[in-house]
Symmetry: C2
Subunit: 154 residues, 2 copies
Amino acid sequence: MTYENLDAKLVNALLGDGRASLRSLAEELDVSVTTVSNHLSDLEDEGVIEGYTPRVDYDAVGYDVTAVIQLQVEGNALPDITDTLRDHRQMISVYEVTGDYDVIAIGKFKDTDGMNDQIKELLTDPDIKASNTSVVLNAVSENEQFELDIGEDA
Amino acid sequence: MTYENLDAKLVNALLGDGRASLRSLAEELDVSVTTVSNHLSDLEDEGVIEGYTPRVDYDAVGYDVTAVIQLQVEGNALPDITDTLRDHRQMISVYEVTGDYDVIAIGKFKDTDGMNDQIKELLTDPDIKASNTSVVLNAVSENEQFELDIGEDA
DNA sequence: CGTCGAGATTTTCGTACGTCATCACGTTCA
DNA sequence: TGAACGTGATGACGTACGAAAATCTCGACG
C-alpha cells in the first residue's frame, strides 16, 4: 500500500476533529472511505481508540476550581483509597505514584467551599497519613492529547 | 417545554458516545432532531462543548510512562516556564498552582530513559529553583469527564 | 545463495442502498 | 413572544458486498 502509517494519521486526524465523517477523513488521507472505516474499526477493536467524547469546558458550567491533592497512605489501604477517589465523580485523574506521596488526584469543584468540604471529608479516612492540596490558579493546558508520530501505531 | 435541563442531558449523552447521531440523541432524550440540533449548536457556540476527540489509549501506542512534575520557579519567569511546558507536546496538563511548588505538569513518555532525558533538559533552565518528579505506577483513572448535574448548564 | 513465481492472504477500492444532517418553512403550545 | 415541533427537499453519510490490487508464503530452480 501507499501509506505506511495510516493508523497514526487517522488518529491524528480525529484528534483534530473527533466527529469528522469517514468521507472527509478519506479525502484528507487520500484513501477510500472503506479503508478508513476498516482501519478505524481495527483501532477501536485494538483499544487504541477507546471511545469519543466532547471536550466539556467545566469552567463554563460552574466548576471554577481545580485542585491537585497529594496523599500519603497506609500501604495496605491504598486500593481502598484509590477506589474511593475514583468513585468521586469530580475526580478527573487519580494516580498511584512514586515519591513523597503515594497518590496524586486532580479534582474539579464548583467553588472553594465545595472543595474544602469534599477534601475534608476525604481526609477523615484514618489510613491517610498526610495530605497536601494545591489549588490551580491557571490551567495553562489540560488533558491535551498529542498527535502520534507517523510511524507508530498499534 | 417538558425538559428542564435538556442541555445538561445532551452533554451527558454525548459523554457516553461522542459520535452519537442527532437522531439517536433525539430519541434518547425524547425530543425532536431539530431541538437537539439547535441546542447542540448553542452549546458549541457558548463554548460549553469545545470540540470532540477520540479517547486515545497512549499505553497502547507505546507511551508507557506518565510522570507528575512539580517545579519551583522564579516568580517573573513563570510565564516562560509554562509556555515552554505547554509547547512540549507530551505534556498533557500544565497547571500554575498554590502551595509548595508553583507549577505542576503531567507528561507522557515512551520509557523512563526518554522521560529522564526530557526532564533533565527542562531542568537546565536557571529559573527553576527546585523540582520534584513522581512517576505514575498506576493510573487509576485519567482525564475522566464527569456528567453534569441535571439542573446546571451554561 | 539468490530469485522466481503460483497460490493464498490481506488490503484497498468502487458501488449501491438505506440512513442521516441540515435548512427553511409554518404550526403548536405555554 | 419564544421555544419546541413537524415536514419536506437535498446533499452527505455509514455500511455491506464483491472486485481488484498489493502483499506474503514457500518450494523449485539456476
